[in-house]
């Protein structure tokens, strides 16, 4: 049934983007770590490979743009829910150009495109947590109230609550969905605080899965035909303790995906793709 909120985690398509050489030196970062471009590219290829081959998604790969060093982090450029795609207005000025190619790709996929025209609004997709029932928008360095309002206007069916992001880049820098009604959350104070707020703001009850490392809390949940619950999460190499927590999820198909290089640029797993559920016409 083509009902509201049906099929959380159902995806058919993914939009990804290549890594420009400028990433290594020019991409924005909060740490000073050096990025190995080749390693980063290798990592990204593996990531795309999982989506395409292992999970059978139709992957739309946008070409890298040297003028947009952060362009691989496509998540920030658009928020897709159902048939509607909101093209964002990223908080970092250097990233505003990233939305162009994203918009075209989404148009090609016949999405209903909503754009932000308000010059006072900023919104990064990384601050948007969709739980299947409602949205939480992190108010961070990159996303402001106005951006959240526009998101609320674009997705009228859902409640949109704001959550302050006190530390970390984005809301999803320390949390993500691990299943229907399951929030994966880091154990830092600010992460736990944010979770409390989300719980208070919501009419729904969420289970939580607390992982020791904030960055490990960013994972990708999908519910795919013939595969069931799928979770892409960090590797043992990066966060051994957190992986142990994920391994307790018995119903999930767990796929560790390496993110050693991109994490230096504050890139998490969800950052590198925009997932879309393109319903095939019924019957």
């Amino acid at each position: 049934m083509a009902g509201l909120m049906a099929g959380f985690g159902h995806y058919t398509h993914a939009i990804v983007r290549g890594i420009p050489a400028s990433l290594a030196t020019e991409a924005l970062r909060t740490s000073q770590a050096e990025v190995d471009l080749d390693k980063a590219r290798g990592e990204h290829d593996a990531y795309v490979q999982v989506l395409r081959t292992r999970l059978g998604l139709e992957v739309v790969e946008l070409p890298a743009d040297e003028a947009l060093p952060d362009c691989v982090f496509v998540e920030d450029a658009a928020v897709v829910c159902g048939d509607t795609a909101l093209i964002t207005r990223p908080g970092a000025e250097s990233r505003r150009g990233e939305t162009e190619a994203m918009k075209e790709a989404l148009k090609d996929l016949k999405m209903n495109i909503v754009e932000i025209t308000d010059e006072n609004a900023t919104l990064d997709g990384g601050d948007v947590l969709f739980t299947g029932r409602e949205f939480f928008v992190g108010l961070s360095k990159r996303t402001n109230q106005r951006g959240a309002e526009i998101l609320a206007d674009a997705f009228k069916d859902y409640a949109v609550s704001t959550v302050p992001v006190l530390e970390g880049l984005h809301l999803k820098s320390f949390c993500s969905m691990g299943g229907p009604g399951l929030i994966v959350i880091g154990s830092s104070d600010h992460a736990q605080k944010a979770l409390k707020i989300m719980q208070q703001m919501s009419d729904h009850r969420y289970d939580k899965l607390t992982v020791p490392d904030d960055l490990a809390a960013n994972c990708i949940y999908m519910n795919l035909p013939n595969k069931g619950h799928v979770l892409l999460h960090c590797t043992t190499e990066e966060f051994p303790e957190s992986v142990k927590v994920f391994e307790k999820l018995k119903d999930h198909m767990l796929i560790p995906v390496s993110n050693l290089e991109k994490v230096k640029l504050d890139g998490a797993l969800t950052c590198c793709s925009v997932l879309i559920n393109k319903k095939k016409p019924d019957n």
Binding site: G3, D83, K156, T162, R205
Partner: protein, 807 residues
């Protein structure tokens, strides 16, 4: 009062017209009556009179719930509205109601002729009975003006009333027990008794026009002084609606604001400007419409929601608009037929969305095709299943400002109070988090339960446009909280109970009650006409009705666990598990600040003492903007706090029974005594068979006597499962020689919540206090305070400090 109906009505009309404030004039007129009555008997009590007038306005407050209910039942009976099936539905009030119908009938027979005359006196009688509490009623600011208004009438009517009073006095005293019920009958007689019609030839009848959900109008004649519920029941009868508790009537006040017609009040006093125009609307949106019993109820809910969606009150996305529209189409027209052009005509006539366009209409048609084979009732169910998930479903929005003047919206819904800024939810207060709701002038306040780690309660304030909107919001909150959170409506305050604030309480059935009631509905699914059948001559609803119903029921049974919701609720309750919070009120959490709290005076019942002491605490002071305002606009992370109140510690009476209270006994400290006496009685009628176990304890010089009165049996659910603790409150009050600790716990057991009130009453004083009598009195008071509850256990723990020589 009915005796004077003809002349008095005129007078009152004048009052009404001259008054601008709906509530004022309403009270004014009511007060008139009361003041008059008082005069009849208590002429000498000149000073008391005014107070009584004030007090008397709330006379109905002192009637137990079932009496009010009784009124409603009796009022509907002449309309043939109350079918036999209705009877069991009032199960919630069973205990008290048993005797009511009987008395009812009797009273009517015996006193029918007298009734009219005696009525006002009875009210007075009631009033003087409750004199003790009269003083405790704080006055509203408004009232001063009101009593001024009423003075002229007062004089006019005095003599007549006086006579009536005298005539009836004796009779009254005899029939006092029935007085209340008769009062209910007084209402009935207006509509029923031919006698009365003869007596009051000038009785005016008004035509009410009610806009129904399908857009049609329903006209009906009501007596000019009929109460809201009379009209409401008429409308429900017309609609053949049994699950009526989700619905209500609205009217537009002079400021063109939509208001709910109070069923317990006279219509005339609520509407302004003689505009007898109403709308029938959904008042409480059921969170799970599939739990409704009848298709007709769901159909009406669908009609409301279609309008909510089309008008933009219930915002939804393009896709959802189309989906909902397609179910509407299926419900109204049945299967899509390619050669059937009518849906196309219909679709462009019909408004599905505020910004409907061709694209949407095409999408609607496209989706309509996929619903082939769905019955109208199934389509309604699908419509509701999708509508109920919308974030604004059932949210009643009220414009407000935070104290910095930033526009926000307050949304009242089944789960609590939501705060929006533009379209963003910036805060949410679930009902269990809210300790108290109040308003003062144009401010609206909620007191928040402290969080796990917090020590303080906090009060959040909002500014409404004006006093009226603050009151309206407050009322909506009271009603929504009662309907969705309580098992039974909060009883209107009784004589022995100190009341503060507005007498307004939700008077209807709660969701729990209405669900129970509708589960008992036993009638063939009524056939009803759908809008399409009215618009276009084609009807789909004749034949398939039966199958529709079955389909509907199936879904209900298989698809949904009726307890699901409660369970999730209880989950959220876990947070307060074990909390033992000293709250500044008991279950009287709904308080209306308009009453001057300082005027609270002493009260007979000890429980009132406690309430008084709570109330004497300073009212929420105006918030310090800098402190809370910016927090409010930002997020709930930083807790919003207008005012912090230290949580007062409850004296630990359990650990040290009696002694904290004993401390100020006059009796001088003497050498402790070695005499301990344990008395255990395990029977309801315990007083007689006393089983005494005496135990010598060499060192402690106290006498302890424990008597346990145990009720024969509770309902079976007594202690089967542990249940989930919902709330726990402990309240302590002290008076001269008694200290009362009231511990109220609400537990949830298998979907039913149980309220347990434990009172620890410590009676202290000199030996000349008759402890047995004090105990009897305490039990009696406890029973009176909670007539809807049963005393299941009485434990008497007696500690006596004996004089040395007695040892």
């Amino acid at each position: 009062m009915a005796t004077e109906a003809s002349s008095e009505t005129e007078v009152k009309e004048n009052t009404e017209e001259s008054s601008a404030q709906p509530d004022q004039s309403e009270k004014a007129t009511q007060e008139t009556q009361e003041v008059l009555n008082t005069e009849g008997e208590d002429k000498e009590k000149g000073k008391v009179k005014e107070k009584e007038g004030k007090e008397g306005k709330g006379i109905s407050r002192y009637l137990p719930t079932w009496l009010k209910k009784q009124k409603s039942l009796s009022q509907t009976s002449p309309t043939k509205e109350t079918p036999p099936t209705e009877e069991p539905t009032s199960k919630e009030t069973e205990g008290e109601e048993v005797s009511a119908p009987e008395v009812n009938g009797h009273a009517e027979e015996a006193e029918e002729k007298e009734e009219v005359k005696s009525e006002p006196v009875k009210e007075k009688e009631e009033e003087s009975n409750s004199n003790g509490s009269a003083d405790t009623e704080p006055a509203k600011e408004e009232k001063v003006e009101e009593s001024v208004q009423t003075t002229p009438e007062e004089k006019k009517e005095t003599t007549k009333e006086d006579q009536v009073a005298e005539e009836k006095k004796e009779q009254e005293q005899e029939t006092q027990a029935e007085a209340d019920v008769q009062e209910g009958d007084g209402q009935i007689s207006i509509f029923q008794s031919p006698l009365r019609l003869v007596r009051k030839p000038k009785m005016k009848v008004v035509v009410c026009r009610v806009t129904l959900l399908d857009g049609t109008n329903f006209s009906c004649e009501v007596e000019k002084r009929a109460k809201g519920q009379y009209l409401f029941f008429k409308v429900c009868e017309h609609l053949n609606l049994l699950e009526k508790d989700y619905f209500g009537l609205t009217y537009k006040d002079t400021h063109d604001e939509k208001c709910w017609l109070d069923p317990m009040k006279e219509i005339k006093r609520q509407i302004r400007s003689n505009n007898w125009q109403f709308s029938f609307n959904v008042k409480f949106y059921p969170p799970d419409p599939s739990l409704l019993t009848e298709d007709i109820t769901r159909y009406l809910l669908c009609l409301q929601l279609r309008d909510d969606v089309a008008s933009g009150r219930l915002p939804c996305s393009f896709v959802t608009h189309a989906l909902l529209g397609s179910y509407t189409l299926q419900a109204e027209f049945g299967d899509y037929e390619p050669d059937q052009p009518r849906p196309l005509d219909f679709i462009s006539q019909q408004t599905f969305a505020p910004n409907q366009n061709k694209e949407m209409e095409e999408k609607i048609l496209e989706l309509h095709k996929s619903h082939k084979g769905m019955t109208p009732a199934q389509a309604d169910i699908q419509f509701l299943e999708n509508a109920k998930k919308l974030s604004m479903y059932g949210v009643d929005l009220h414009r407000a400002k935070d104290s910095e003047g930033v526009d926000i919206m307050l949304g009242v819904c089944a789960n609590g109070l939501l705060v929006y800024k533009d379209r963003l939810r910036i805060n949410r207060f679930a009902w269990p988090k809210i300790l108290k709701i109040s308003y003062k002038r144009n401010n609206f306040y909620i007191k928040i339960r402290p969080g796990e780690t917090e020590q303080f309660e906090s009060t959040v304030g909002f500014k409404l446009q004006n006093h009226r909107s603050a009151k309206r919001l407050w009322k909506v909150c009271v009603e929504n909280h009662s309907f969705f959170r309580l098992n039974t409506p909060e009883p209107p305050t009784k004589a022995r109970f100190l009341t503060l604030g507005s007498k307004f309480r939700y008077s209807g059935r709660t969701q729990a009650q209405t669900r129970l009631a509708s589960s008992l509905i036993d009638r063939p699914a009524p056939s009803f006409e759908r809008t399409s059948s009215k618009r276009i001559s084609r009807s789909l609803d004749g034949a398939p009705v039966i199958s529709i119903t079955e389909a509907g029921r199936d879904t209900t049974e298989n698809g949904h666990d009726p307890h699901l919701e409660l369970q999730s609720d209880s989950k959220s309750q876990l947070r307060v598990h074990g909390d033992n919070i000293y709250v500044r009120h008991s279950n009287l959490m709904l308080e209306d600040h308009d009453k001057t709290q300082e005027e609270v005076l002493k009260h007979q019942a000890s429980i009132s003492q406690l309430k008084r002491s709570f109330m004497e605490a300073p009212p929420p002071s105006p918030p310090q903007p800098s402190q809370w305002e910016k927090r409010l606009t930002s997020s709930p992370a930083s807790t919003i706090r207008v005012q912090q109140q230290q949580v007062v510690c409850v004296p630990q009476t359990e650990a040290t029974p009696a002694d904290s209270a004993v401390s100020d006994t006059k009796e001088p400290e003497k050498l402790p005594v070695v005499k301990t006496e344990m008395v255990t009685i395990s029977d309801t009628f315990a007083a007689q068979k006393t089983e005494i176990a005496t135990k010598e304890v060499p060192i402690v010089h106290t006498e302890t006597k424990t008597i346990t009165y145990e009720a024969a049996q509770l309902d079976g659910s007594a202690d089967g499962e542990p249940g989930v603790l919902m709330t726990a409150q402990t309240i302590t009050s002290e008076s001269l020689c008694t200290t009362t600790t009231t511990h109220i716990t609400k537990t949830l057991k298998g979907g039913l919540s149980e309220t347990r009130i434990e009172k620890r009453i410590v009676i202290t004083g000199d030996c000349d206090i008759d402890h047995d009598q004090a105990l009897a009195q305490a039990i009696k008071e406890a029973k009176e305070q909670h007539p809807d509850m049963s005393v299941t256990r009485v434990v008497v723990h007696k500690e006596t400090e004996l004089a040395e020589e007695e040892d």
